[in-house]
Subunit: 270 residues, 2 copies
């Protein structure tokens, strides 16, 4: 019926590829991830992410901006796959299918490149169990103006679909770095980074700790907190006071409060 | 097999009641809600909530503390229903069924009773769309030591199962108040509450606004923000700076940063 319609087998192939990206092993191997929805699509474009393929359903898509960007990507050689609403919904996770999604290359930055970036400081993540928490932290990191996010070790995958959804596109412009613990230690010494660990057991209050210009805020796992080697690496540990009976603050909340403490201190006085 | 086993029909009845509490209309009519899991159960007990019924599965339950509390509640006249693991799982939302849950009375506090409570200030919620966001905000409010949470109008239900789960029991000790807008206005004037609205359009930075001793932090809906009448009621509006490209901070993050700004200002100097 429509000459632009790609073949059914090509559609089946790309939809299979999209589905397979829900698995971490596939994401790691292909250095790619799936984004979905107009907001994410536009933000990924604006952040100059590297598009491998666009999947769209003209019947569902109600955004002239997204249509224009699809054409521009196609003109630049990015393959586009026109699918039916049913096909789109078969891979889409959103309640209201937007009709646009894309396979995008993961944007990792090497530590030595990222290190020169200006900004408020680094968010350093050892291990966050909940992808929703991680997504919210990335969103706040971008809003607050952090220099980037450093993942220590292989535990966390910022390209998990739940993380990507929770951060609302906020992670696309953020430099993301993956390092080993020993690389972090070496870099921290070389660049004179003050590693500041957030820990409920710390003596110092978050608001009173002396902080230097180059801060790396270190967040540990939701329940177990910072690992022992990481705790040793942190020159400073700080806590948020808890006056209630709650066991602990949500880790994303604590991280946000601490990032905005950096914002507050970076403000001119008066 | 077991003489303590309650009858199948009694079990079916209580499980039907638990299921019906997932609907707001039923929760409102019965002034009750469902809690689940050892942590919530213990925290509800510690917070002296009013238990209507306990539902437990001895085969699943692996907590001596919870077993002891079930016995104490039973001794105090609270009916308990012993169910099979399958029955428990049929109402439980948790991935790993803990084996204990309870129907508990909603703990609303009248404004004139709550008004005398000491604390850091009030969290005032007009309308939050995401129950996950609301739950996280309640959890932070309790951790930070807020006086309580005031809901303006009927929009938000803190006893929604997703809210209850997201706040990890943090809302149980918190005074919760429901008022109309005109009641809030009258109370604010009488008690000399400084209503401080969080709004991305505000001129004043969150960290620089002069705040009095009695603060009411007002949070609006995720996208539309504060309603016009609420904005007029707020003597002060403040914003968190956003240097990134993200549209806006997550509302729960913004609320947390602002609550900890109150904590910071309440600290003794030096």
């Amino acid at each position: 019926m429509n000459r632009k319609q790609t073949s059914t087998s090509a559609n089946a192939q790309i939809l299979g590829r999209v589905r397979s990206l829900s698995r971490r092993s596939v994401r790691d191997r292909e250095h790619s991830f799936w984004i979905e929805g107009i907001r994410q699509f536009v933000q990924a474009f604006d952040s100059r992410l590297d598009f491998s393929a666009v999947v769209y359903s003209p019947i569902l898509l109600k955004s002239a901006l997204a249509e224009m960007l699809i054409r521009r990507l196609a003109a630049a050689g990015v393959p586009r796959y026109r699918v039916s609403p049913e096909e789109f919904r078969s891979v889409g996770a959103a309640l209201h299918a937007s009709g646009v999604g894309a396979i995008v290359r993961q944007h990792w930055t090497p530590l030595d490149v990222a290190a020169h970036r200006q900004g408020l400081g680094w968010l350093i993540v050892e291990s966050i169990r909940s992808p929703g928490n991680l997504g919210t932290m990335l969103r706040t990191a971008e809003a607050a103006g952090m220099s980037g996010v450093i993942f220590v070790g292989p535990d966390c995958d910022p390209f998990d679909p739940v993380v990507v959804r929770a951060c609302m596109g906020g992670m696309f412009p953020l430099p993301l770095v993956r390092v080993r613990m020993d690389e972090l230690a070496k870099w921290g010494t070389q660049q004179q980074i003050q590693l500041v660990g957030l820990s409920p057991e710390a003596e110092q209050l978050w608001s009173k700790a002396p902080l230097t210009k180059n801060v790396g805020l270190v967040l540990g796992e939701e329940r177990s907190g910072l690992s022992e080697p990481m705790r040793k690496l942190c020159r400073t540990t700080v806590r948020l006071p808890m006056t209630g009976t709650a066991d602990s603050l949500n880790v994303a909340m604590a991280a946000s409060v601490m990032m905005y403490e950096l914002v507050r201190r970076a403000q001119p006085l008066a």
